[in-house]
Symmetry: C2
DNA sequence: ATAGGATTGTTCGAATTCGAACCAGCCGTC
DNA sequence: GACGGCTGGTTCGAATTCGAACAATCCTAT
């Protein structure tokens, strides 16, 4: 099983392993964080992410759509979560004058407080699990990779059929 | 790592960015693949993963538990999915003599065929989105990173309170 | 001004996931 | 050989997600 002689439809085993491992690890990371967050702070990872994004924004506010894109989920899911967070009092909706259909979601004082409370816990987790493993060079490298992946995804989103160079093995 | 003057509770902004980006990209990847798989082959990414694991196993069969661990989801979710796949005829359950409570899930001929059909499409996607971005050295580097992350997770699973060195900033 | 088309956020039903409770079968010890 | 503890799978209800359909609003070109 050497590397070079694989049909283009298959992945060389070593490369395949990297991909599999990638999936495995990302899922585990996700679960681990989610679990800890729920047990210790009573919020989901998605909810936490929403609070973070809000806190990082100017005015501590964001539009629903931007939130959806930033979290990478369907708009309807954001509506659902904002309802939840709103009931919890961590977030509040306000109309924005400029665009009458748009809605600004604001981080409330309670929300900010809850975040302050939860962040150290989860950040230390991220550090221990994820960041302590990488030094400066690796971080830069990883960041570059992430950038490329992101660009690839952009490319694919613009041109759903796939890059023309490959002439697309799509099972039409 | 860098920027030494941050409170230990917070992450230096650049490092934070890497983490955020990581989440963003992994989610997008997941969605993209899932979507394509559903549109073009009528199966979920989880289902596809299950088929792959089965195909890669000896005898093309696996136990439910192993499957659950391999896919990183709750056992109940596996039961659900295997029911689905079973209805579709891509998979079949068989008792194993040795352990009377255990169940072997086999990949059927139809399942193998369906996989053969779907794999090239999704693999080319993985290649384009994920693998083309990295050369051999980077792949090795990434693999090492994945290994470390995996080990960290193992460590945490064994010792849920977190590594003793940090004395744990848990918000009790 | 206005029609056509895009964008914003919500609602709805279907699919999927999770965790806890549960039953059945295995295993070590007495 | 029976007992208590473990493990493997399933069932159940709750939570969350998605995509499609919808209503309101904005924007652009005429």
């Amino acid at each position: 099983m050497s590397a070079g002689d694989y049909e283009s439809r298959w992945l060389a085993p070593d490369v395949n392993a990297v991909w599999t491992r990638f999936l495995h690890v990302t899922h585990r990371l996700e679960h681990h964080i989610d679990r800890r967050l729920q047990e210790q702070h009573g919020i989901t990872h998605t909810q936490y992410e929403i609070l973070v994004r809000l806190a990082d924004s100017d005015e501590r506010a964001m539009r629903m759509s931007d939130l959806a894109e930033s979290i990478v989920t369907a708009k309807s899911a954001v509506t659902y979560q904002i309802n939840k967070l709103s009931e919890m009092g961590l977030v509040s909706r306000k109309k924005c004058g400029r665009d009458n259909r748009g809605i600004w979601v604001h981080l409330t004082e309670d929300g900010a407080e809850r975040l302050e409370h939860a962040a150290p816990c989860i950040l230390s987790l991220v550090r221990e699990l994820f960041l302590d493993a990488i030094n400066c060079d690796q971080a830069a490298e990883l960041d570059k990779l992430l950038g490329t992946w992101s660009d690839n995804l952009d490319e694919h989103d613009r041109n759903p059929i796939g890059p023309p160079e490959h002439a697309g093995p799509q099972a039409a």
